[in-house]
């Protein structure tokens, strides 16, 4: 049976995380219908076909120019009811985490949230979700009709599986929202969000003072725009870095291709946010620091000597 894959757009441009949603949805078999709420045509929406969407539906309403939580939830719940989908897949992005439970509740079910794996299982879906700060994995059979899932970002690597991707646009009527996004205060241009970066270089108390984060920023720049600078809670609480940059249990959960922890001890609450990264590098002067237990590669020593050297080497590669 068809799976409904909920795509995301911002300012009329499809967000890349949408490819992960389609990729995961098509793993359930039985066809994928992609859906996106927007004020008009969404640039890049046709890409969903490349990753396995049989059909791409744009639900349009002027209210969707900005994220309109209530209107969007209503439109998606209506669509879900009409289509009788077995499964609805969201991204567990900032928007998805807000939207998925609203839609689920309108359908009388819960969300299996922040999943890292999924498989069709008879009439239901079996999913895996990290729990207890990533110290255990919970395997859950979702028997609700429909099964509503949200995917941990960066876990389901997009795979190209071209399908028809037939486009359809449906103008929808929605209730006036009580909760209204007035504006988005954008982060300074050029800064990549840790939740979306393929490479993250995170700094902790080992950096000694806020100004020293420039050594990490230089390393990030050497990666040519793919890298973001993250932080441990210790340095966020000290006011050295913004909370938006915090990785961990009370910050963001990230799964980049490469995570470089610099001067971070590796407390369990930090690991909770980054242990599903594909490759972890730790740089720490204490060879017994817990971060080395999860790191694929460790370098023991003074970060102020090691990081500039690493920056130099990465610059050479990216020439």
């Amino acid at each position: 049976m068809t799976t409904l894959a909920v795509l995301e757009q911002r300012d009329g441009v499809l967000r890349k995380i949408s490819h992960e949603v389609v990729t995961a949805a098509q793993r359930l078999g039985g066809g994928v219908e992609a859906v996106v709420c927007a004020a008009g045509a969404v640039q890049g929406a046709d890409q969903a076909g490349k990753y396995g969407a049989d059909k791409i539906v744009t639900l349009t309403n002027p209210a969707f120019a900005k994220y309109a939580p209530e209107a969007c939830a209503q439109a998606l719940a209506d669509r879900a009811k009409q289509g009788g989908y077995r499964t609805i897949v969201f991204a567990a992005s900032a928007t998805g985490k807000d939207l998925a439970p609203r839609v689920a509740a309108k359908l009388g079910v819960a969300v299996a949230a922040d999943i890292t794996d999924l498989a069709a299982d008879g009439g239901g879906v079996v999913v895996t979700r990290p729990v207890y700060a990533g110290k255990a994995l919970l395997k859950v059979k979702v028997a609700s009709q429909p099964a509503v899932l949200s995917l941990r970002p960066n876990v389901f690597t997009p795979v190209e599986r071209p399908k028809a991707g037939a486009a359809e646009t449906v103008a929808v009527t929605v209730p006036a929202g009580r909760v209204v996004v007035r504006e988005i205060k954008a982060a300074p241009a050029g800064t990549l969000d840790v939740a979306e970066a393929q490479v993250i270089i995170s700094g902790g108390r080992g950096l000694k003072e806020p100004a020293n984060f420039k050594v990490l920023e230089e390393l990030a720049r050497a990666f040519g725009g793919q890298a973001a600078v993250g932080a441990s809670r210790a340095v966020v609480d000290a006011g050295w870095r913004a909370h938006a940059d915090q990785v961990g249990q009370t910050g963001k959960t990230v799964s980049p291709s490469l995570y470089i922890a610099v001067g971070i001890s590796g407390a369990i609450q930090h690991l909770a946010g980054m242990r599903t990264s594909k490759v972890i590098v730790a740089i720490n002067k204490d060879k017994d620091a817990p971060i080395f237990k999860v790191a694929d590669y460790g370098v023991v020593g003074d970060l102020f000597e090691i990081v500039p050297k690493l920056t130099e080497e990465i610059r050479k590669l990216h020439g």
């Binding site: 807000d98 819960a110 949230a113 079996v126 205060k185 800064t191 500039p308």
Partner: protein, 252 residues
């Protein structure tokens, strides 16, 4: 201001996770698990107290669905300054958060709250939804992951972090909000508060949540990460590190 705060008793994140014999749950007794008030709910309790203090009048009630031992969690919130507590007592918290939401919504329904506060998520199950589900069940407006809040009369403005920025959201009261880190600095209960908490009303109501549609198949330790290696010491090891990242890990 009449404010309800929903709080959950969760294992401390430092807890060593020991899986019970059924292979589906945490071994609480054998594992020596220490329980705490969910950290995000501390932000919610703190915000409620500040709103009430600012208004000069009102009530802060805390509501918890959990086992008898969750009375201790409620006392923690009372010691911070909440006025009264309600324990919706059940031995087992449902695996399906929609069932939790239904029980909590049923309890909240009979009172005209100005604000109903939740944590953004519980740090044990990471469900990140009970607040939103309850809001939907009660038909109230809801703003999630609030890291900054202004309220004037019945109009609220909240800020929430999104990728690459901050969303500024207008909403009317009464409303459901879920609290993120950054909203405030929760106070520690003072000795006086702890003493006072012992005398504050704590009502216990037995409840029977439904079974729900999420069935736990297994709880397992995460796969061990492939044993890592210390590449070397000092800047001299960087060349080898870069080689490994390129040739072995293939991430450069």
């Amino acid at each position: 201001m009449k404010i309800a705060v929903c709080i959950k008793r969760v294992p401390d994140s430092e807890t060593r996770v020991k899986i019970a014999a059924d292979g589906k749950s945490l071994d609480e007794a054998g594992g020596g698990v220490k329980f705490v008030l969910n950290p995000y709910d501390e932000f919610a309790v703190e915000e409620a107290l500040r709103r009430k203090e600012k208004a000069g009048t009102g009530e802060v009630a805390v509501i918890c669905l959990g086992p008898a031992a969750a009375q201790e969690t409620i006392r923690t919130a009372l010691a911070m300054g909440a006025d009264r507590g309600v324990l919706l007592q059940t031995d087992k918290i449902p695996a399906d958060p929609f069932e939790t939401a239904k029980v909590i919504a049923a309890e909240l329904k009979s009172t005209a709250w100005d604000l109903i506060l939740f944590g953004r998520m519980a740090i044990d199950d990471y469900n990140t939804q009970v607040g939103s589900l309850v809001a939907e069940l009660l038909g109230l407006p809801c703003v999630t992951a609030v890291s900054h809040l202004d309220i004037e009369g019945t109009k609220g403005v909240a800020e929430r972090e999104i990728e690459g920025g901050i969303e500024v959201v207008d909403f009317p009261l009464p409303a459901v909000l879920t609290a993120d880190k950054g909203l405030n600095e929760p106070r520690y209960p003072a000795l006086k508060g702890i003493m006072a908490a012992k005398k504050k009303p704590l009502e216990v109501k037995p409840v029977q949540p439904g079974a729900g549609a999420l069935e736990v198949v297994a709880l397992t330790p995460p796969p061990d990460r492939k044993a890592g290696k210390i590449v070397g010491e000092g800047p001299g090891a960087v060349g080898e590190l870069v080689r490994l990242l390129r040739e072995e890990a293939k991430v450069l």
